[in-house]
């Protein structure tokens, strides 16, 4: 059984979902993510779904649950790269994924996470809006 690789970028974790998620893969990912967040004290996770062109309610729930788990562990989660067709499908299915932050791509996702959690390298003394 393949596991989805988790990449580390500073205190952020990046996960790219490229294949059809099934039950085992999803729970393996959640296991791995929660462990890793704790292990490296990650402050944020990015879930990149730009390769997914179809999504169902299962994935919708998985994304919402994973975000919630991360938050409990002290990390913010952002889902990035949702394709238009996927967004439309989720809306039609009535899944609005409330509580899940989203951004257009990884770059904006990183920006958003840093906005929310502060950029550790610079310390916290900057005047921020």
């Amino acid at each position: 059984m393949d596991r989805i690789p988790i990449l580390r970028m500073g205190d952020l974790l990046l996960v790219t979902i490229q294949v059809d998620m099934h039950d085992q893969l999803a729970s393996a990912l959640q296991d791995d993510l929660t462990s890793k967040i704790t292990e490296v004290s990650a402050k944020g996770i990015l879930i990149d779904i730009s390769s997914l062109d179809i999504v169902d309610s299962f994935i919708g729930r998985m994304l919402a649950n994973t975000s919630a788990m991360a938050r409990i562990l002290g990390a913010e989660a952002v889902v990035v790269g949702m394709q238009p067709a996927v967004a439309i499908t989720l809306v039609e299915l009535g899944l609005n994924l409330s509580g899940v932050h989203t951004a257009l791509d990884v770059e904006k996702g990183v920006e958003m996470l840093h906005d929310r959690i502060g950029t550790p390298e610079l310390g916290d003394t900057d005047v921020r809006f």
Partner: protein
């Protein structure tokens, strides 16, 4: 075969009408031309005498063989295919030239008189048979005349369909009005088709331009009902899922009232009365974001 009389009589009848048409073709043509040129529906401004003669002759040419088959009632049968083709071409070109469908049909109907004249002169002494002939020819010509109006209708409908397609394309332009800000000015009635096209176009453009803000301006939308509102809200929700925000602007006072009466829930959406207000809001938002970034650097 023919519906109005028995086969044996029909045989005689068809031979006689078709024969008359063939043997008296020139006289019939002359007679017909004379009639058309002097009629009040003659549009000398749109068609010349020579052209009219050619068209009339062509009609006679294909009509005779068709009539010879004995079929005077089913114009969709194979033997009438050449006749229908001639009439179709004729109807379309007349339509393009500016003739009304009635004027075009009258061309066919006006053929009755010269044909009946010729039948009368053909020396057939049996009155009841003559009457049968005339009646059969009359029904046939009626059908052929009505066929030209059908063709006219069809070509109008094709034009309308084509224009609708063009309008659909023209009507969903997504414009980037600022860095990271898109605008979608909607004009006209929003139906399901248009709205899905609009939704897809907008969302696609959001990805392409990496814009985080989109302003949907509905100044040009005359009415907003629950269906339209739902479509708009779905678009906003989809954009949000992707990581962008939508504002709706151009809401006229009347529409604001309608929306409240219909209990449409816009609490999740930022709305502004004018596009200008929406732009100001959007600039402030993205300005704030830029400010935030600069501070960190």
């Amino acid at each position: 075969m023919v519906m109005i009389s028995e086969p044996s009589i029909a045989q005689t009848m068809t031979t006689s009408i078709a024969n008359v048409l063939v043997t008296q073709r020139n006289e019939i043509l002359q007679d017909w031309m004379h009639l058309q040129l002097s009629s009040e529906t003659m549009r000398a401004d749109l068609i010349s005498e020579a052209e009219l003669r050619i068209e009339s002759d062509r009609f006679l040419e294909v009509l005779a063989p068709a009539m010879r088959s004995g079929n005077f009632s089913d114009i969709r049968a194979l033997e009438y295919k050449p006749v229908l083709e001639v009439l179709e071409r004729f109807s379309r070109s007349r339509g393009l030239q500016g003739f009304t469908p009635s004027e075009t049909a009258t061309f066919v109907f006006s053929f009755k008189q010269p044909l009946f004249n010729a039948l009368r002169k053909s020396g057939d002494k049996d009155l009841s048979e003559q009457f049968e002939n005339v009646w059969a020819a009359n029904l046939l010509i009626d059908k052929l005349g009505l066929y030209t109006t059908e063709v006219y209708q069809q070509s109008r409908e094709e034009v309308i369909r084509r224009q609708q397609g063009e309008m659909l394309e023209l009507s969903t332009p997504v414009v980037q009005i600022w860095e990271g800000i898109l605008a979608l000015p909607l004009i006209g009635t929003l139906d399901s088709d248009r709205t899905s096209v609009m939704m897809e176009t907008l969302l696609q453009k959001i990805v392409e331009t990496r814009s985080e803000l989109a302003i949907i301006d509905i100044t040009g939308v005359p009415t907003v009902d629950t269906l339209v509102a739902q479509h708009l809200l779905k678009t906003v929700a989809a954009a949000r899922l992707m990581g962008a925000d939508c504002l709706i602007s151009g809401i006229r006072p009347q529409i604001a009232q309608t929306m409240v009466h219909l209990q449409i829930d816009l609490s999740e959406v930022t709305t502004k009365a004018t596009l200008a207000e929406a732009l100001r809001f959007a600039l402030k938002r993205s300005g704030r974001a830029t400010q935030g970034k600069t501070a960190k650097e």
